[in-house]
Amino acid sequence: MRRLLRHRGDLLAALAFLSPNLLGLLVFTLFPLGFSMVMAFTNWNLRHQNMFKPNPVRWVGFDNFWRLLQEADFWRFLGNTLFLMIGIPFAIAGSLFLAILLNKESRGGDRRIYPLVISVVAVLVSAMLLGLWGMGASAMELLLGTTAGGILLLGAIGGRAVYRTLLYLPSFTSGVAIFVLWKDLYNPDTGPINLALRPVLRNIQNVVRSIPPFWPRLGLWAAVLLMVAILAGAFRRLGRHWREGDLGTGIFLSATGFMIIPTITAWFWFPKVGAAFLLTLLTAAIVIWQWTPLAGTRDADGRGGSAGGLLLALMTLPALFVVEGLGIVCFNLPAQAANGLHAPSWLASYYWAKPGLMIMSFWIAVGSNNMLLYLAGLSNVPPELYEAADLDGASRLDKFRHVTWPMLAPTTFFICIMSIIGGLQGGWDMAVAMTQGGPAGATTTLSYEIYAQGFQRGAFDKASAVAWIMFVFVLLATLASWKFGNRYVNE
């Protein structure tokens, strides 16, 4: 009874404590959420409804959505969003790599040898600088040498924190300032990237012109074979998981569907139809080969491996695209070199704007929160596991595959889901600050389309419809993370 009374007193207090934040949440988050749903079903456009044209706002049902789905541009913007997301797995792999490097005690492990390490590094750095100076290095080379030496010395003195700070800075400072900076780095004529690329490209051009034309074709076929090998490996693993019953049929089928996408695009993109044909044929063969023994397997309900299966598919897809891209580049190189290789005009070019943004995003994301999360994950791996692996005579690679990677699986899963959710909503910031969604819509993502429609054209109806379609994608990713994440983490 006393407990109940106390709780009644607490209820009033709780309401008082909660109300400011809850009120703000209701007015500026929950109400807008519902209201944007309403907007998506009306014809609310500031151009049609304003003080000069007091047309009533009408309910139009699903019209906005149907119209969007019939628009070629909408699909293109969705494609841009997904295209920019291809960079995500590379950034995650980079973060993991950096975290592993950072996780080692960079000063030799024992406090008593720090002075020795610092003095040896100092001697080496000054020797290097004197050497550079003596060989008559240019001011630029001296600058780079000094900076590298300085970082090395600071690292020897301050340890991990120094490198962590330097690697984390791009993501911590990322924002308009960084985008403006990169816009100038990418300047086609005066930007440092192209200034550095031009001499390199001249050398490549000379080399390519001197090699026989048969090599590039070989490169194309090598790319095809590599794609087949990657596909075969991924299917083997997926198939094994399915056979063992820890991967649901639905997941297996959708992962398969995902991974065949590059084969289909290869049909359009590969310059020689023969290569594309072979690729399609081999993919079909692999799929059939993997599926035959699986026909009539029981368990349709996914178990623990589902998240792993999805991850595998999501990580394989970008690798396939990159190999495909390299194949195309390889094949086209001789013709390009004959005409002269030119540095790309990056953000001003329809084809290079997206890769340009992806390179910048990689630079930002590789040392980001993901790296810090991996670092925390690595320090939580019990050292006994490594000691046990040492006793079994495991190699470094074995230890990574069988100890580090599985122990980091929950972290990886969390990072992947967050990156996918972020990627689906991403791109507007870079587009606003660097490209205005151009050239010719090449960098317009769904989120930038919301901005452009809603705030530049006053089309609240269309912008809300796009926002809700994006929301559905985000929701699906979130639900997937809840459904599979718990299983995965509890394993």
């Binding site: 690292g155 924002g175 919301i450």
Partner: protein, 296 residues
């Protein structure tokens, strides 16, 4: 590199209790170099854009766009010029003013809500908390358009009030602080209650001081986030006198023409506070990110 050295790199150096003999010292040294050199090279590559930025900001206009990154002489007056060309000081002040208000409101209301969720017992607590949990994953872009409409209706477009209000009540802070407050032993509250302290006293005198690390973390994150935020300011702010730093930079970027050196000086000055704050407070920041992920 000889095989011995490679072996030395590969085996992790274990802490030794015995006095250091010469061999482990050499091993430790080589091990240290093996990890330091690649890390330093990667860090240098990552830092190149920043190096270019600072050097370009010190160049005279005639040297911008040359392959040589080094200015012939250092023109520090570029930094002073920025303040004359655009109203940079005002942008700085606006940014800090807005970020300070948002941070103050966010931290205060979040702490109060987190207190209600962690230290008070009341029916329906878990259901309302679930509501908070659900809103954290909502994409902000969905809410932006109705919020803009609300601000049109309230005649708050192009005002700091309209800029601050929607950003001041997020669910994230409630989460983070609840995590911290749950770790405070309940016996403290009980004994304070015995002494006749009301909830407000308990909140202010016991819970708040004990969740200081959480409050600091949330303050840093909110402040940094708002200082960098530019979607909502871009939508809301129309007149130049209200521009925050990111919007001012965008404006300068579109009007500066070829004056890349001044632009880079402005960019350098806008990220310099962030760099300083990170170096000084990195302990809290790194912790906060790792806690935030565990809970998310």
């Amino acid at each position: 590199m000889s095989t011995n050295e490679i072996a030395a790199c590969e085996s992790p150096a274990l802490p030794r209790t015995a006095a250091l003999s010469r061999a482990p010292m050499a091993r430790g040294l080589i091990y240290a170099l093996c990890w330091n050199v690649p890390l330093a090279l990667i860090a240098l590559t990552m830092a190149l854009p920043f190096i270019w930025m600072v050097l370009t900001s010190l160049k005279p206009l005639s040297e911008v766009g040359l392959a040589n990154w080094l200015p012939s002489h250092l023109r520090w007056e570029n930094y002073a010029r920025v303040f004359q060309v655009i109203d940079f000081a005002r942008y700085y002040w606006n940014s800090i003013f807005v970020a300070a208000w948002i941070t103050f409101l966010q931290v205060l209301t979040s702490a109060m809500a987190a207190f209600a969720f962690s230290r008070l017992q009341w029916p329906g607590r878990n259901k309302i908390f679930l509501l908070y949990l659900a809103t954290i994953m909502l994409p902000g872009l969905v809410m932006v358009i109705p919020n803009y409409w609300i601000m049109i209706e309230l005649h708050l477009v192009n005002s700091f009030t309209g800029l601050i209000l929607p950003l001041a009540f997020g669910p994230f802070g409630v989460f983070l602080l609840r995590q911290f407050m749950l770790t405070i032993p309940p016996s403290l509250d009980e004994s304070a209650r015995m002494d006749g302290a009301g909830p407000w006293r308990i909140f202010w005198d016991i819970t708040m001081p004990l969740s200081r690390p959480g409050l600091i973390t949330l303050t840093i994150f909110t402040f940094m986030g708002t200082y960098q935020n530019f979607f909502w300011p871009l939508v809301m702010l129309k007149s130049q006198s209200l521009y925050t730093l990111p919007i001012g930079l965008l404006y300068f970027n579109s009007t500066s023409g070829q004056a890349t050196n001044l632009l880079m000086a402005a960019v350098t000055m806008s990220i310099a506070p962030l760099v300083v704050i990170f170096i000084v407070l990195q302990k809290y920041i790194v912790k906060g990110i790792q806690i935030g992920a565990v809970k998310g």
